[in-house]
Symmetry: C2
Subunit: 420 residues, 2 copies
């Protein structure tokens, strides 16, 4: 397997060089052809998916997991539409920036280029196969996909369809490479191929992400979890704050930009907490609070230290009453996950300070944490969210899949006088 | 040692948060005070350096290495001036970019922030101690220094001086942390502290860099070597090309942006190569060429495959006559090191194609490879050169020591309609 993996990665790297040089029109034609091919392969994909579904049911996977795995015409439509939307996105490759002329007359600038080859390691959802492939290809990158075992047959069928859409183009179908095994040892081997793979993006649970980042010699974009905070300042507009709380906690509790912890300034706790409790209860949210929280919400559960670290992804919220702004910021620094944190305040000085003091990848003033999403922030589609600071930080769109190289134009300038 | 290292790194991380929030004026005052303190500690530093020099001579280090190690008043002046130049540089932290208003009225932008804590692992030259510390601090980052054993006493004295310059400021001297051992095991322990250190930059030989990147859980900025090419196209201005060749090869052969390989289009080889050989010989450069090179330079040595991979850092050049442009580009892709590659051509189409086809971190048209340097490219000082594409690519100035977070301002916008 090791040699086979090297060969696959090598081929992808070689093919990616041609892809990197394609202009945007050619890449868009390629993506459109991939979308059409997906459309023409519906039957095969759904048949393969049924094999996966059967196996999942036999294995006794939960209903929610089986549902995530399921493909039907609607879901294939979504995959096709996602590719079409990626066709519409602005291509960052080739953008020239900050061109300056130096005192000696050389002109210096930077130009955006693809990273090369990106490996995506993911779990259940088969739609990641087409979404990730399309984003990587639009940004000029070769892509190596390693999906989970539950969706193996579905993934193989999707990749076959996508690859047949590449066949008649100017580049080799090797730009899209699927790892034909879900074996963990093979994944570890893959993560050593730094010569051919430029970036690894794991998408899935914390366990998968830790495993990948501890075993990889290739740079990894990490997103462990989203423990997002709303801090309701003493100068907050309390109705506005309540709206942010309810949207953040209840509009979709299972996603990473949902709120997990509410921090409330002590000066307004007596008004805000009872009002919040009443709406949270109506929405069936369990409240776990500190001692002072329980003074205002007597039927709240007592929060433990673990509650403040928890990413519930469920209708539960941890609540803490803080002495002052500083305690709120310290709490976020200690328990937060560098994902998204929100302040509700009318006070411009406090807002400006919060922007500076909180170093999460998305910091929001009077807006819902649920906007921490590539689409909502205007990046177009999103390949993931990075909560570590290297290369990309926060929601990653196409630009995060590129880098910049320096370009220099001269008329023969040399650094020292040359005597021939 | 392990626990001690963790404590040091932890303290640096905590101190770095205050540093990150300092405005540019405060950071400049801090740096100026560090420079003054260096000036006041000359005697101590020179005395410590003498201990290192004596040990180096006893160990039988080469004259060049001993010279690199030596500190005198002139070299301390240079260190002080380097800090003063860093004071003058534009501070990237706080720059707000690409602010857009989304259809729902939220305002989305990005703001530059420091990375956090940067570890610099370096070899002989003691001036790296003050240069790297100043660059990291100017960009708002805590810095952990781990120097080589040859310069240990010099480094300790420099760090003491710099830290006493921090003492009277708003931040803790912990922002500058020196690892008090040159033990390899301790370095390996340091490279595991991903919780406290955000980036590792190794500066030194290929062995050190490979060791660091293979043992690090923290992202590493890599720069293995500079195998820089000059391709003299059939449409080149030959006198211009000769100037680039001589500047690139002979102005400072021991640096990474010096030329190592000359590629010559076959159509102009008969004119260019004899002219090049005559000047190269005058400059005492040894020529190692392919078969066709030797036709035009009969006394050239025969080049082996290894010659085309070699970073000579010496007065030696590998030469190859190529069939056409494509062969030149393929050669660079195969043997190059993603550092700097140059084309000499009058033809705008060939120049534009070269910019696209060669994915080195600096690609130059009719300008010397020796300009691949932070100062020459206008970045101000340089902390290193990255030849891998993640996070930074090419010469790294202050901006490469920062990242961007998303900021969002709203008036209570939510993603879904909230019913209270």
């Amino acid at each position: 397997m090791e040699n086979e993996l090297i060969k696959l990665a090598q081929k992808c790297k070689i093919a990616s060089r041609k892809l990197a040089a394609l202009d945007t029109n050619s890449k868009n034609i390629l993506l459109t052809s991939m979308a059409e091919s997906l459309n023409n392969s519906r039957d095969k994909i759904i048949a393969a998916n049924e094999t996966d579904l059967k196996a999942a049911e036999e294995k006794g996977l939960s209903g929610a997991l089986v549902d995530r795995l399921r493909l039907n015409d609607d879901r294939i439509d979504s995959m096709i539409n996602a590719i079409k939307e990626i066709v519409q996105l602005n291509d960052p490759v080739g953008e020239i920036e900050s061109v300056k002329t130096r005192p000696n007359g050389i002109q210096v600038g930077t130009i955006r280029i693809p990273l090369g080859v990106i490996a995506i390691i993911y779990e259940a959802r088969p739609n990641v196969t087409s979404d990730a492939a399309a984003l990587c290809i639009k940004s000029g990158n070769g892509v190596i996909l390693r999906g989970g075992s539950e969706a193996f047959n579905s993934n193989v069928a999707i990749v076959e369809a996508l690859k047949s859409g590449i066949e008649e183009s100017a580049v080799s179908p090797d730009i899209l490479t699927f790892i034909p095994t879900t074996d963990r040892e093979a994944m570890v081997e893959l993560l050593k191929l730094e010569e051919y793979i430029d970036l690894v993006i794991p998408r899935g649970g914390e366990g998968l992400i830790r495993f990948v980042s501890q075993n990889s010699r290739i740079p990894v974009i990490k997103h462990y979890k989203g423990v997002c905070h709303l801090y309701v300042d003493k100068d907050a507009d309390l109705e506005l704050a309540l709206n942010l709380l309810i949207d953040g906690k209840t509009s979709r509790p299972a996603v990473c930009n949902a709120l997990e912890t509410l921090l409330v300034h002590k000066d307004i706790a007596d008004i805000f907490l009872p009002a919040a409790a009443s709406v949270l209860k109506k929405k069936k949210v369990e409240i776990r609070g500190c001692g002072r929280t329980i003074e205002f919400i007597p039927d709240a559960k007592a929060a433990t230290e673990e509650d403040y670290y928890a990413e519930y992804l469920d209708l539960i919220i941890a609540v803490k009453v803080v002495e002052d702004y500083d305690e709120a910021v310290e709490h976020i620094a200690k328990y937060g996950s560098n994902h998204t944190d929100v302040i509700a305040t009318r006070n411009i000085f406090t807002a400006r300070k919060f922007i500076k003091d909180v170093d999460s990848s998305s910091v929001m003033v009077n807006a819902s944490s649920r906007f921490a999403d590539g689409g909502e922030l205007g990046l177009g589609a999103e390949i993931g969210i990075s909560t570590s600071k290297l290369h990309a930080y926060g929601p990653m769109g196409l630009e995060a899949l590129t880098t910049k190289k320096f370009i220099v134009f001269g008329e023969g300038q040399t650094r020292h006088n040359v005597e021939l």
